[in-house]
């Protein structure tokens, strides 16, 4: 299945009930991708303001564009150490 691969971590994976999903989208920004993800996993919505995103392993802003085959990571506030 082609599309944007979305990985979820920590509390976001918990809320979504999955660690990975594929969203059929092409050339959309992260801000545009979010509603598609939240529609599938409504329990994620309350976390929106706390989340950061990475595209292919690097932090990315909401206006970053993603394409089929890209890997988007949904990152709750980090808590290492």
């Amino acid at each position: 299945m082609s599309g944007v691969k979305v990985l979820l971590f920590g509390a976001a994976a918990d809320r979504a009930g999955t660690r990975e999903t594929v969203i059929p989208a092409e050339g959309v920004t992260l801000d545009e991708l979010w509603p598609l993800l939240a529609e599938r996993h409504p329990d994620l919505s309350p976390m929106r303001g706390t989340l950061a995103f990475a595209v292919n392993g690097e932090y990315a802003r909401g206006d970053a564009r993603v394409f089929s085959g890209d890997e988007v990571a949904v990152l709750p506030p980090v808590s290492g150490g």
Binding site: D14, R15, P46, M47, Y59, P76, V78, S79, G80, G81
Partner: protein
């Protein structure tokens, strides 16, 4: 050396590996898992999750940032993933420098940056449920969910 490891961190080995004749100081920071208690419940263990390989790369970037700022000759950061029992080392930072000042400052910088940018998450597993630290999402009844 930058590593994310599943098993216990051999802190002594990380320090030994940083000893160099051109350095007069090795500063070591070891973060250990602390047991909190509240209202009759307590933390049984912690569980760390990392987004790899991004987390590995971010550790290396912190090392590069340190080398830009201070005269250090060796930086090692080892972070645990998976289950970590109370009192165990969850992270070890070892910095070798010709002088003690940069070694102290750089090791402090490293732990602060880890807590800002490295995609690692910690889950406290309590006797009555769990909590994702930082998100306050979990199964403990007393936790205020967003």
């Amino acid at each position: 050396m930058f590593a994310i490891v599943e098993g216990p961190i051999d802190v002594g080995a990380v320090i030994s590996a940083a000893q160099r004749p051109d350095c007069g100081a090795i500063s070591t920071f070891v973060g250990t898992t602390r047991v909190d208690e509240s209202e009759g419940a307590s933390v049984e263990y912690l569980e760390y999750e990392a987004y790899r390989p991004m987390a590995d790369r971010k550790l290396e970037e912190i090392g590069a940032e340190i080398r830009e700022r201070w005269d250090v000759r060796q930086v090692s950061i080892v972070h645990r993933a998976g289950r970590v029992d109370p009192g165990e080392a969850s992270v070890a930072i070892v910095v070798a420098s010709p002088r003690r000042g940069p070694a102290f400052e750089a090791s402090r910088y490293a732990i602060e940056r880890i807590k800002e940018v490295v995609p690692i998450w910690k889950r406290e597993v309590w006797s009555d449920g769990y909590v994702w630290v930082g998100s306050q999402v979990g199964t403990r009844e007393r936790v205020d969910l967003p």
